[in-house]
Amino acid sequence: MAEITYREALKQGLREEMLRDERVFLLGEDIGLNWGGAFKVSKGLAEEFGEDRVRDTPISENTIAGAAVGAAITGMVPVAEIMFGDLITLAMDQICNQAAKMRYMFGGQTSVPLVIRTVFGGGKNLASHHSQSLESWFMHTPGLKVAVPAFASDVKGLIKTAIRDPDPVLFAEHKLVYDKTEEVPDDEDYLIPFGQAKVRREGADVTLWGTFLMLHKALEVAEELQKEGISVEVIDPRTLVPLDTKTLIESVKKTGRLVLVTEETKTGATTAEVAAIVQEEAFDWLDAPIKRVNAPDTPVPFSPPLENFFIPDNKRIAQAVRDIV
C-alpha cells in the first residue's frame, strides 16, 4: 500500500485492467500522447499501450459514446472519456437511450460492458459550461450504474469493478479530488463492489451523507463539531446506482437525524432521492426533518466570490447539522 493521489489511483486501475484484459481500451478527446487527458488521468498510458488502445478522438461526444456502445456489444470493453461532465449533454442519446436501454429493449440478448468516465464539479473558476454536477440525471436513467468515488482507494477499486461489470457504468469523478491522497492497495484484484456504502467516520448524534468534495468537507465538519460535543457519522455511498440504502438507514436508525450534502444544484439533486427514501423507510426513527445542503438553483458562476458562495462550504454544512440536533 502506498499513499498516492486519486488521479494516480485511477490511472493504476485503468492500467491494471488494460494489462489484464486486452479487450479494454480507452477513447476520448486528447487522452493520448499529446495531452494525457485534460486532467492527466491517462498520461503515460498511450506511451505504454499504443495509440490504438488509448485512442484520441475528434470532438464528437455523441459518437464517442456511441462508438463505445458498438464496441461493447461486439466483444470489446471500452472506457470512453467525456472531457467535462457539462459536455455529456451532447452524448445523452447514446448514453441514456442506447447504452442504458440496450440489454432491456433487446430482451437480454446483449450485455453492454462499457464505462463512460467524466468529471463534475466546480471550484476552478471554469464557469457555467465546465463546472456542473449532473449525476442525478444518470441516477434517473434505468439501465445505468453510477459510481461517485471521492477517495483514492475507492476510485481504484471502483474503476476496476466498473470495467469488469457487464453493464454500462457512468463513472463520475470530481475536479477537486484528483489531488487528494490516500493509501491505496496494490493488489491486482482489489475490487470494490458496487452498492456498498462506506462509513467514513462513526458517530452517534447525526448522520452526514454526501459525495465527492462535500464528503471531504463533511469529514472536516465532523471534526469541528466533535469539539462542540456533536458526534457525526459520515457515510460515503461510493455508488449511486446501485444505492446502498441499508447502511444509511441503519445509521439513521441509530442517530435519528440526517443531513445530505452534495455540490449539485438543489432541486432534483441526488439528495432529493435519498431524502425521499429515508423519510419513507425510517419515518419512525427520524427525530428531525432531513436537511439538504446543496448549491443554489443557479448556473455555476465564474468569479471567485460568486463561485465560493455557490459551492457549499463547511459553515453551511455545520449549520445544517446544528439546525437539527
Binding site: G66, G70, I73, Q109
Partner: protein, 324 residues
Amino acid sequence: MAVDKKTLKELFSRTLKIRLFEEKVWDLFGENIVPGTLHLYLGQEAVAAGVTTALKKSDWIQSSHRGHGHVVAKGADMNAALAELLGKKTGSCKGKGGSMHITQLDVGVLGATGVVASGLPIAVGAALSCQMRKTDEVVACFFGDGASNNGTFGESLNMSAIWKLPLVWIVENNFYAMGTPIKMTCPSSTVAQRAEAYCIPSKVVDGNNALEVYEATIEAVKRAREGGGPTLIECQTYRMKGHSRFDPAKYRPKEEADYWLSEEKDAVNVIQKIAIEQGAITEKDADKIRAKLQKDVDKAGEFAKKSEFPEPAEALDDVFAEAI
C-alpha cells in the same frame, strides 16, 4: 461485374422474403393485433436484400427504425421476428422491443433503434471493434435520407474515415422523412454528395434493383475488408405505404408516386425479371420459391399469433445482468 446464378437466385428470394414478411405484418396489422406503430419496409426490399447478400454471416448490420427488412434479410428467425412485433414472449426481444427495436444479435444485427441516426455511432464502434479484434468482419449501417441531417451523420462518417474502418454506409433515400420531402431539407441532389466532405467514396444506385445494390455493396465490402476504409452507398427507393401506421402519405405528388409504385419499378418484379433473363431461375422456380416462402411466413404468423404474451412482471427483468 459478372454475378453468378446462385447469387441472383438468392437476391430474388431475399427480396421476395422481405416482401412476403411485410405483407404478413400488414395483414396482422389489419387484424388489429400489432401494438404500437409500424414502419414498414414495403417498397425498399431490394436494399436490404442486396446489401445483406453481399455480406458474410459473421458480418454485422446496424438497423434503423425501419428495421423489419434488415433483420429478415440478415437471417433472423421469422417466428421470433413476427412474435416480437406482436409483443409476444417468444419474440426475439421477449416482447420488450417491438417494431422499432426488432433485433437478433446472433445473426449479426447490432440493433434497431427508435432514434433516427442513432445507429451510426454504434456502427462506428462495431467496425472499430472488428478492426481492433483483427477480424475480417465488416459492418453495414442502414439509415434514411432524413437521418443524414442529424449531427451523428457527420461525426460518424468522419470517425469512420479517419480510422479507415471496415464500414459500409447505406443511405436508404426514399425521398421522405415522415412527410418532409428530402429536397426541403437537403440542398444537394444526392445524399451521397455529403460523403466527399470526409473523403469517403460514394455511389448512387437504384435501390429498387437488388442486383445494383448488391454489386455496389460487394465492391464496398471488398474495400472495407482490405483495410481501404468506408464507402457510402445511396440507394434510391420509395415507401409503398406511408411513413408509419396511420399515414396515408397524401403529401406525395401523384406522378412521383405513380412512377415509383409502378409494376416496372417494383423491387420484386425487377429482380425476378433479371434473374429469369439471366437464366438463374424460371417462372416456375419463382412460383416455387414464392410458395415456399409464403408457407414459412404463414407459419411464422401462426406461431406469433398463438404465442403467449409475457407475464406482466417480466417488465422488471433484463435491466442489468443481475438484478440490483
